[in-house]
Assembly symmetry: C2
Homo-oligomer: 394 residues x 2
Amino acid sequence: MKTDTERISRIQSAMEKEGLDCLICRLPENVVFMSGYWPLTGRAFLLFPRQGTPMCILPSIHEKEAAAELWQGEIVSIPFGRITSGDFFDQVRRSMKNVLAQWKPKKIGYEGSFETMAPPWNAAEPAIPAAPTRELLADVAAGASLIDATPLLYRLRATKTPMELARLRVVNEISAIGLQAFAQAVRAGETGIGLASMVEQVIMNQGTGYAGAKRVRAFAQVSTGETETIDGYRLMLISTQREMLPGDLAMLELAVVADGFWCDRTRVCVAGTPTAKQSAAFEAVMRAQAAAVKAIRPGVTAESIDAAARAVIREAGFEDGFFHSTGHGLGFRYHEPIPIIEPGVTTLLETGMVITIEPGIYLPDVGGLRMEDDFAVTETGAEYLGPAESKLAQ
Amino acid sequence: MKTDTERISRIQSAMEKEGLDCLICRLPENVVFMSGYWPLTGRAFLLFPRQGTPMCILPSIHEKEAAAELWQGEIVSIPFGRITSGDFFDQVRRSMKNVLAQWKPKKIGYEGSFETMAPPWNAAEPAIPAAPTRELLADVAAGASLIDATPLLYRLRATKTPMELARLRVVNEISAIGLQAFAQAVRAGETGIGLASMVEQVIMNQGTGYAGAKRVRAFAQVSTGETETIDGYRLMLISTQREMLPGDLAMLELAVVADGFWCDRTRVCVAGTPTAKQSAAFEAVMRAQAAAVKAIRPGVTAESIDAAARAVIREAGFEDGFFHSTGHGLGFRYHEPIPIIEPGVTTLLETGMVITIEPGIYLPDVGGLRMEDDFAVTETGAEYLGPAESKLAQ
């Protein structure tokens, strides 16, 4: 795989500044960020020195994928998955000690405070760092200081390189397959779970192989009707078997990952003809998104983008219905903490940041409507990482 | 929801024995195990006292589901998801301090060493415990000892109550919808990713609502042809766009979750007519599974079950092709560590344990074939948590 030299040099410069000699990571989102390899479970350890060649210690059953994806560095393959394999952690420990005995780092950074994670492709059972991993790190550090590098990693992840932006365009294009299938399928009689599972299926099936994507997965939630969509601002709403009635809204909240790069989109459609209030709210949300996007450029505050969206909703008379953030960072995860686009956040936008813009309105007699897309901050404004049309009714 | 009093009393007895006054958990798999409530992200904290009523501190946006599912206990709802919500962790901290100031525990157990996790229904972004959670626990413990209760939790989870067995029957029944759809769909021209995404879709769509199941999700991997299926012993194999040829095998590895209860199944089918070698390997795998199941009863060692399966494979001449475990525990996760069914493991089977039996053969000129189902240890033998037929060819 083509090496992202820009990414490597940015990480090395930051390590230089912080006096870190080495980073050790195993969350798939940090391994892919630093090495190009998106691990299959979370048991691959990446040792990334400030100078020189990284080392990836991983279960033998994943060696093939790592060899194909890693930009650079050596692979240490630990037997795994056979009854003769022996203790995985013990062997990781020995390998790490060997590497660090040569590197002799004084300060080692690790991912100590990640309280949310992006799952690997097969999300059924993510491996996560807990006490055994911390004991392992303390043991192999052998006197070096262990520094929680979580803030550094989040900061570095916030601003994407040109190669990372190219990957985010691909996953957004893949997501559009699902958005389009959703818009075409919404009608009376459909269910939220039926629509959600269909969207996941078409994205996984048609997205795999798109522009070379090898591992694609979608996570969709669809709320329908007034009661459910008014609740649609809630993270992780449950899709149900409720059958849509004529005039019902259906709102799709969609995360898609392609080889470790994530996008986050929302669409809302009506089964049949929208009411005047639904149309007015939809128009307000669309105009709020456009106003926020127009305000995006390097050097402005996150809260100014939020204010641009919120002003439109207020002027349209729907202010009480918009009580969540206007957006957030993303890329190596469905949600990233830098920047958050909401009142009071004075983080300055920088070229290469990628954010969602997702104004929404949730009101009785209207229902819930949100429009969400992903945008990159460019030198002169914003790039829509689309594409997908947005119409309330077909 | 009906309270599993048997589960509560088993946990309380174990806490009594270990001198634990209180357990604090937040991994969804432990919260559902101890309280009946399957959290939606991983941000719900369950405080479970040895005597008295548990307390569940959670994000306000998930209060409705918790109220519907929790067997007992009070809910403390922390504002979440609105721009006015304030800092979630700070408010959790205050609530926990209030509760613990009343309970005055001396020894608090927590889930310190879980290095794998079961994701919540929307698996796009699990919340996980890291340094902030550990600091929170140390702070609220206020002088009480913090004990890593991971071994205790795994031990308690290994042996299911009658109510838990009923839930595992349901998820196994739901998985059969996908197994059947898979068997009917395998033919030349199909792809692994097409079959996998279809199986996930039908299970999610038809399984939601089955026997009252509210949150159902499937994670499927399908390998096809000799090269891919020979690799099919590997955890987390990637499904591809390779088109099946006549005579190719397709192997489905399937995890399904229904409201926090997991099953783990494997099926293999051929596109068209199997070769004599494929048929012989399939027959050997089927007979190996039957022999292992016949050996299951309380009081026998895990390795004796493994030996029963392995003997059949050896006698059939396929010994070199069977190099992984015969099975493992499961229930609150796709894989649980108690018991592992492989040589050298002298763990005794107990009534109520739930295990997979999954012999497999992976050889050149044959391909990879595995058959996997879930079984409960009963007082007199084994209960097949099926149902599903298994045929190599339709």
